[in-house]
Symmetry: D2
Subunit: 343 residues, 4 copies
């Protein structure tokens, strides 16, 4: 094995400590720095037993030749400048979602990374869970047949964020999962979003997205900061099978249902009884054995591999850009009373 890739984590807030912990557990990486404008916070995250260096200076980090890559977990508004500086300093970049708050700026970063031959990776964490990887194989491998409907629910008593609404806070998870698992020819073509701010928080706290897919079916996403119960489920209905993912059920995260409703081939004549053409499958459920493990470990591992192999990561800048455009369109719909916005 070659020597590990020197890494700096930038941002010691909510998510940074998870990056620090998982970077340290990844043999292909060597954590050199934790950087935060608040040096005390960086030191506190590292704790009193660590040999990793803390700093408040991004410049110091980017100037360090032992640092080949950075992982950025700062507020979204700072992403553009930080990612650009890192890429210009020749560093590979792993960045939290969203890539930036603005798709145009994000596009520039994607181009810059591609021109520089540097890895630009989004931390779409869920895509690295065994459950989502399994669903991707099922869906893209034909195991579910044609995708008929998708319903995703991600609700919780969540922190009302100071800088983003519930749409930008939670929906990127669902959108990045859909981007990851759907076949390349099943793409969103339009979106409509309804939402409300019933507590007067100054930002949308409950939102419902409808995505029209290129195949004529729809995907629907419910994100909610106000629910006292925590639900994280996604159902992907297909012509052959339906996948139910319940991320909070460790004994059965994924169930593959051989159940569904089909229309049998044949034209629907004006006098035909429609029932004759509908058939029901009420088959078994299959629960695949999936390994347990922290998804962020997979993120770190993929980042290191993409760098080592000189290839684009699975969740590269382009995927981040696609999701950003969806979010922008969804926001536009939300701000216009829920009108359908074409992509």
């Amino acid at each position: 094995m070659s020597s590990p890739i020197g890494l700096a984590v930038i941002g010691a807030g909510y998510w940074g400590p998870n990056l620090v912990r998982n970077a340290q557990a990844t043999p292909a990486l060597r954590l050199e720095w934790l950087c935060d404008l608040d040096l005390g916070r960086a030191r506190s995250v590292l704790g009193s037993y660590s040999t990793v260096r803390a700093t408040a200076s991004v410049e110091q980090v980017l100037a360090d030749p032992s640092v080949a890559a950075v992982a950025i977990a700062t507020p979204a508004a700072t992403h553009f400048e930080l990612v650009r500086a890192a890429l210009e300093a020749g560093k590979h970049v792993l960045v939290e979602k969203p890539l930036t708050p603005d798709a145009e700026e994000a596009g520039k970063l994607v181009e810059l990374a591609e021109e520089s031959g540097l890895a630009l990776m989004l931390d779409h964490t869920y895509c690295y869970t065994p459950a989502v990887r399994h669903i991707r194989e099922l869906v893209r491998g034909g195991g579910v047949g044609d995708v008929q409907f998708i319903d995703s629910v991600r609700i919780n008593l969540g922190l009302v964020q100071p800088d983003v609404d519930v749409l930008w806070d939670l929906a990127p998870h669902d959108l990045s999962i859909l981007d990851f698992v759907l076949p390349d020819d099943v793409r969103p073509i339009a979106v409509a979003t309804h939402g409300a701010d019933p507590i007067g928080a100054g930002r949308t706290c409950v939102a419902y997205l409808t995505l029209w897919l290129s195949t004529g079916s729809i995907a629907h996403i419910h994100v909610n900061w106000l629910s006292p119960t925590k639900i994280r489920t996604m159902v992907l209905g297909g012509s052959r099978r339906t996948v139910v993912w319940d991320d909070l059920n460790p004994s059965q995260r994924v169930g593959v249902y051989d159940r569904g409703v089909d229309r049998r081939p044949g034209e629907l004549g004006p006098d035909e009884r429609h029932r004759a053409l509908i058939s029901y499958r009420l088959g078994d459920i299959h629960v695949p054995a999936l390994p347990e493990g922290e998804a962020l470990r997979g993120v770190m591992s993929e980042f290191a591999s993409a760098i080592a192999e000189g290839r684009a990561p699975l969740t590269d800048g382009r995927s981040g850009l696609r999701i950003l455009r969806l979010l922008e369109a969804a926001s536009r719909s939300l701000n216009n009373g829920g009108v359908r916005v074409e992509l």
Copy 2:
């Protein structure tokens, strides 16, 4: 106790047998007839041990002076003529939802019943479950505070109906429950519906309704015939408490959560940190003991009591009319790409 009210059930299809069974178990009613155009089906529903008479003639039933009331469980397209004939024959009427497929005609029936001093009742079965009655008391009694959001899911591998889409098949349940539990001053003012027919059934099989309420919050309903899992839940988030109803969890159908997100009073100044104004409650859950019992028994009992007491039933024709107007508006939205339709 006075002598029981003579009843005829009209329609021996999917739901009729349930009316027959529950009417027989209601001491205040005396089941005289089961009427169906298909006399053999009526006889088969009664079975070989019954003294109840079967007939194919509605006229015979309506001409029978021992019949004071009829319960109608025929296809919706026949409701207008049957209900009118029954009211004109001086019979009280219990009718399956929807009252009719057309709100204008329904309005005529409501007027006719009121003019005739006859009971016109909708079989909004769920309103007679102990769970929904309990929620009504909580919500209308102030126990949940201001309603902040409502989310209802009713999905199942359901029969694709020959005459109605999933909206008209399932959403009346959710809409009648909302009509029943919400305070009189919290009313829907607009609706938008997105849906799809991904199996080519010729009718919408998956639909999402967003209702804007007069208070500024939203209610959302998900109805779906294609889901391999069966879910029937409703969450009513309030400023004081949140109610979670899971109709398929007999050990805990209703949970009252003392959890939520609040904005504390005070103006949001431009420089204030928004976090300071948000507070979280993470309190206990209370699961009320509720009696078990078949809801339709409560329907029959309310029908008999309303007749005996000469008053409008809890779920009267006017409630049926309100729900019908909502369904019509929802359909209009569905047929116009999901535009918001004012009520």
Copy 3:
């Protein structure tokens, strides 16, 4: 089809109404009488719409030549006399568990039935559920391999019975299921029972049975009248697969787990590390699609078929006798501080 078998139900108490309802729904049977010492109760069970005759006289029932079979749901103490009288009158008999409270008397009834060529069937209702039938096929067909352990839990806030303790009230269900699903060469050889009466009810309200099987493994049964939660689960661990039955989970009553712990072949040498010989399977779960339906319908159907075909029913008198002997031994252990009692 031949003409239906004339049936009388004796006993209109807790369970009798279920027999009445299911007999009426079974085309191969013709319900002639409902008999109860309390004639008013019999009439009340039949209701005011039934053509079935009520009587307080067993003699009248047994003397009726249109009655070919009786279903007995009276207190256990009356079973011996009633079953004997019915058999001597030439009637086939379906009887609630236990066959009688005394194994010796039960043996006489079994002999009498066999000499008379009459069907004597126990209403071991659970054996006629799709779940238990499926488990029987799996276990007896080799799908689970060697049975390694069995754990059954049947607890609830149950009625403290006036005439029996929790052992005789609930454990017959578990014992009859084991008798039904286990291969013929896996038989209980000894039993020990611990119990308590912590509320001073005058009878055991909580009991734990351990059964030693002929194969060296054990089966354990927990029955409890005092639990505020209702649990009905049975786990059958096998060398190939493990079956988990959760009777209260309609969406997934039976799960077949390809998981377990095995010892690989090879002698365990004194110096060998034991770990080397243990292997773990962490495979998939399979949830078979099972039809829904009332088990008692299956009981009635099997009773009618056994009579028509002149064969012993699946749960015949001999199975009732085996279970009775187990219960007697379990009671003996309970009364002697939990000592092991050989069978």
Copy 4:
């Protein structure tokens, strides 16, 4: 705040890393050493970013004056020598269960600690979960009334341990919880254990313990290494309320049920109908809000506090000794066919 207590962790196997991690997160402690005979393993547990020192020499650790306390997570067979050496070196001791494999030796350690004025604490981790602390308050504070029955299930597809059977591996958890939550006057007086080794592992893999309590009621514990499903529940039935603890249900770990069966006061006359004296409560369920958090953090915190305050820890050596005597008696029963063994 005074300066932190210097700590060494001895044993870098299965549990040691958890002690290391939680010690580092406890401000009142200062982790000085991780000691393991296998120095490479100790270094690997610390990782490449730690300033904590690794050593293979217990002597070095015990000779270090900066070490005031040790936490021992080595195989049970080594506990006696290690704990004695640590106490004799004047160190406070936190030790994994069981205190030692032999109650007599354990008694010597308890005496030695008390004579030396040093803290001797057992890592009965579950006692430091918010759930168990809450149950302790409920039970000892009278909230459940008289304890009527206890049923504990701890089953899983678990590692077949090389040195202990399932009884010694898992039952200490249940026994330490009972020791912790039960009032001082409710104590086990006898035990019986049934078990089996159906896979030929050379040690019991499935075991059932019955404990007779001084009040006449019983507690029952089911421990099992072979179950494909993971269950960790404990039910404590009381005359006033019943507590249900489901450790694997994060949304509702503890439920307090106002349900039960009571015998009303009054003598049971020979002619009285027993039913008249039994009453049922079917009241509400209350789910207290409990903080989440790692229990081992609480263990570390209690260890530090007990040292600082010069008092016995909550789960002190005497509690460890009581549990050890129970385990020895349970083993004796298991080895003698399940006979009742007095304590």
